[in-house]
Symmetry: C2
Subunit: 563 residues, 2 copies
């Protein structure tokens, strides 16, 4: 009857509680082993121990992986483990001892009155367990198990959890590139259709994509989109290499690098992508504020990413200290460093060098670009290591307090290193592109240059402060970036068409392939009105039907674009 | 019967069309004078000429001020004028020739299915006019009129429109400070309640407000909130002085300054506030993503401000060139400059000087702070003026194209000058505070210092690039900012309590004065569920009733805060 491996409906991952998220050790839910009945008793002792946020819990799931402190008959707490727990019965009613509900419900009626909006994603719920019994077999035994007589044993290296986390984070990076790709596609296509302002020649108007500010915003976001695509790919390869190492003889030497870079990259990338979606939305003017543009939805959906799968600040605070350890290790054991971080071994040379740029085009040399970023990174790491050492010496601070005092700088070295890694992974992909797709290479090299030089330009103080880049070299950057933006603008529509998003997947009246923006805005608006009228102020027609209709319209009209 | 001065319902301001917003000259709606009947005929000739976005149009208004090209019997186009037009009759049905509807309707059913979210604010609509006749008297005659025989005359100086725009923009700045104040209140109060992570002493946990990163985020936003409060005040005073000048003898000499600064400030402030709301939201972790925090709503509502009341990019592009003219004027007629921009007259001295800071505390001198910012401004303006002149000389570009080539730098000088103006207005307010509220002065001086030095720090490259600030002086800034943040943290709860927002006005489970965050989250969640259950999947109870209930709960629980 009960098959834990084949739940009929999506299974919730119930870890976070009302009172605690990031700090797993402070979660309060307990799972006490009851030897008499060979069961675990799951319990939520307080209000703050209620599970809060798990996806699919509000309505869909009938099973949840519940994380709880394992308490054994010896009275000891063996830390957090997962327990597969049935939360709803065959009629989809809560099981005995279970209180389960929807944390997004309050938003529903409010919106009917055009009142509030909600960021909540689909189906997030809460869960209270009151002395709920489950068979011992339902402890999820991937990492540890408990015997019939209550004895604990570890099953396999829990470093594997790390490996899985990296996989999830690689997916987030790749996925972020997709999401930003959608936003940029919408904004670029619309900017090629929208006219506003007078043309200098006096005839007609400017396409807004011909304004250099609009170009700058959208082309730099395009550069980021492509960069993150290659970063995601690199992370996935690293993940697989690491997994192979662990599987073939338990070599965990790559683990720390992989953990550090995947944490930091998830944080840097989710923050940059969120900001870039918002810029794309604003670049569409008034129509970008309408949900018919598809952009508000992208923003609101994506706005969870700086928080979920590792809160960004906390991730940087994990990456930073590892980088300092890697810097120390670089002297003694340089060959142990993964390729993207091998530059730490070169720290002395990087520190004593000066940016060699003499002419504008020297900035287009990938080595010059990368070494500029790497110089900054090792300098910042060095300064921080010294500062922390000094704090340690003068005061009798505890470790955590020293970390707290240097938190901003720890976060900074993580951010810097991840910016460099994104550039590295783009560079890393280029030779293969040059070999396999020589006709595409110039367009991609241009975006790589644009992304890299824009990164240097927006962090310019980091390079000026110790004179690595001088004023003359710095003054070349805005000119060069303008040139690259202008060149990229020529291929703008091609760059976004290459993502291959269908009109359906964009769900945007502005981002249509055929460029019939105004017709679509008007048609969708009338459609919405009809639905409301049908329902006499409420809603009678099923939205799915409407969605189908929109899709059909979309399909019919996906013919050759005007652009 | 018809009294245009007393419309029963809110009146819409119908200017923007589907195809054009910022570029008013390209709006397509026409108002043709029909001499035979002494009427205007309003007409929407194309799909793109439909009025789109006006507030209150979707459902509420029965009259709209419709902007249209005035066409007189001589066949000439006299440009945009406003015409008061009845759009709905006594039964609230559309008048003949009127098609009117809701541009947000499609979002309603979607949300019922937890599907989409919408940025649309309340009641935005569209309007098509098909040869609609209105009496001549309904032309809004504040600025111009048309006689019985079709002759056009201007009524008063249309510079007054400018004056009104400034007033609106001053309100936006003040209002932005309020909105950000709400976001910061919520985040600070929650951060004083939320515990996460281990305390270095090993006992209990950190309040998250004790993490220096959290402090840095929230205290710098607090500084901005206070700064913008004083900026709004300064702008309102400037607006009134300008109006007095115009009324008393038509002195319009302040006009250009006032226009420039109000445009740029609206743009800078709306962008910074939007970003800061998002940071406050993220600082609340997972609960910040829930609408129960009140933060998503603030973000989504505020997200219109970079676009409405003058699109930000376009505003900067208006301010920038005026600044260049003012710089030129500063040599010949320095006394004509408003106080916040009088420094342009000091350009030569500013350009040739060097930051005098020797010890960390020298950075706390308001004059040192201000001159650092002002030096940057005049340097950037000078460079831009020279560059534009060079472009003009070598090429035979038209004016608009030269502007397009230098767009990023034009925007930059506007942004820089406005950052300086915000600092100036905060400084400007301090002596009065010191005199009238000496006990408050230290707390406000601290926020002014924090806001100013944080501004310099986040734009550090601007000051390093020409050596005005050297590496040693720059290295003092992070230390000083940390110190100020730490001091501000001590008063954090006091700073936000001083805004005096009631629990009702915050609408947030996290921002409660009494600190009972978890109880509120749970209670509101249960309330939401009940409503959904009541309606059998739909919604039966009126939301206003629910809102009332929430408010009652809120009121009862607004007792002395725990914080
Ligand atoms: C849409 C959505 C879906 C979710 N789905 C699930 C799910 O399916 N299952 C599940 O179990 N959970 C889920 N969650 C919960 C999510 O995992 C947590 O919200 C996330 O881990 C962040 O934890 P928190 O909310 O406790 O934030 P907090 O840790 O409370 O963070 C609040 C603030 O404190 C700061 N802070 C906290 N600790 C430190 C520290 N040590 N040093 C410095 N600063 C610190 C943070 O930087 C942040 O600014 C979901 C959340 C959301 C928003
Ligand atoms: C919530 C909301 C409420 C509104 N309420 C009303 C209302 O009550 N009444 C009303 O009449 N209107 C209203 N509007 C419309 C609003 O006034 C316009 O959306 C706004 O003026 C911007 O114009 P636009 O949409 O045409 O943007 P666009 O001008 O099309 O802007 C699109 C992009 O092009 C760029 N761009 C445009 N021109 C230039 C240029 N010359 N140089 C460089 N870049 C340029 C912009 O920077 C932007 O990135 C409302 C809009 C919203 C979102």
């Amino acid at each position: 009857l009960f098959d834990p491996l084949k739940p009929a409906l999506p299974r919730s991952y119930a870890q976070t509680e009302l009172g605690h998220g990031s700090n797993l050790r402070k979660l309060e839910t307990t799972a006490t082993f009851i030897q008499e009945t060979d069961e675990f008793e799951l319990h939520s002792p307080t209000l703050t121990s209620l599970k809060w946020w798990p996806g699919a819990l509000a309505r869909s799931s009938n099973y949840a992986a519940v994380f709880a402190h394992l308490i054994l008959p010896d009275g000891k707490d063996y830390g957090m483990h997962a327990f597969l727990t049935q939360i709803r019965d065959g009629n989809h009613d809560p099981m005995p001892g279970i209180e389960v509900g929807d944390i997004g419900a309050l938003a529903v009626p409010s919106i009917l009155f055009f009142f509030l909006l909600q960021f909540n994603s689909i189906d997030n719920g809460y869960l209270r367990l009151t002395r709920v019994r489950i068979p011992r077999s339902q402890m999820m035994q991937r990492f540890a198990k408990v015997s019939r007589d209550g004895v604990y044993s570890k099953s396999i290296n829990d470093k594997l959890t790390y490996a899985t986390m990296v996989s999830v984070r690689a997916d987030i990076v790749t996925n972020s590139s997709n999401i930003l790709g959608k936003a940029v596609t919408i904004a670029v296509r619309y900017s090629a259709v929208r006219s506003q302002g007078n043309n200098p020649s006096g005839e007609g108007e400017y396409q807004i994509l011909d304004y250099t500010k609009q170009q700058h915003t959208l082309m730099t976001s395009l550069g980021l989109t492509y960069a993150l695509h290659y970063t995601g790919k690199y992370m996935r390869e690293m993940f697989e290499a690491n997994l192979r190492n662990i599987m073939n003889g338990g070599d965990t030497s790559m683990m720390e690098d992989v953990h550090a870079v995947s944490s930091g990259l998830k944080a840097v990338c989710s923050q940059m992508v969120l900001e870039s979606i918002e810029l794309a939305r604003q670049a569409c003017g008034g129509h970008g504020y309408s949900h018919l543009s598809g952009l508000p939805w992208l923003y609101e959906m994506y706005a969870q990413y700086p928080t979920v799968e590792g809160e960004n600040t906390i991730l940087h605070l994990q990456t930073g200290p590892i980088l300092l350890r890697q810097l120390a290790r670089a002297c003694t054991n340089p060959s142990s460093l993964a390729p993207h971080i091998a530059y730490l071994a070169d720290a002395p040379a990087l520190l004593s060098s000066h940016c060699p740029v003499q002419h504008e085009d020297d900035w287009l040399d990938p080595m010059v670009q990368l070494r500029t970023l790497q110089h900054r990174d090792v300098r910042q790491m060095n300064v921080l290591a010294d500062d922390m050492e000094a704090t340690r010496r003068v005061a009798s601070h505890k470790q955590l307090d020293i970390k707290n005092q240097h938190m901003l700088e720890i976060i900074q070295i993580s951010k810097s290193h991840c910016q460099t890694t994104i550039v590295y992974t783009f560079h890393h992909a280029l030779p293969t592109i040059q070999r396999d797709h020589p006709q595409l290479y110039p367009a991609l090299k241009r975006l790589s240059d644009l992304h890299t030089l824009h990164t240097i330009q927006t962090n310019l103080a980091d390079f000026l402060i110790d004179g690595y880049v001088d004023a003359q070299q710095a003054a070349m950057l805005p000119k060069l970036v303008k040139r690259l933006v202008k060149e990229a603008r020529q291929d703008a529509v091609g760059y976004v068409d290459a993502f291959g998003f269908s009109d359906n997947s964009l769900g945007s009246a502005l981002g249509r392939y055929d460029g019939n923006v105004y017709e679509a805005l008007y048609k969708w608006t009338k459609l919405g009105e009809e639905i409301v009228k049908d329902g006499g102020g409420g809603v009678k027609r099923d939205y799915r039907e409407v969605l189908q209709e929109i899709r059909e319209v979309g399909k019919r009209e996906t013919r050759k674009a005007k652009l």
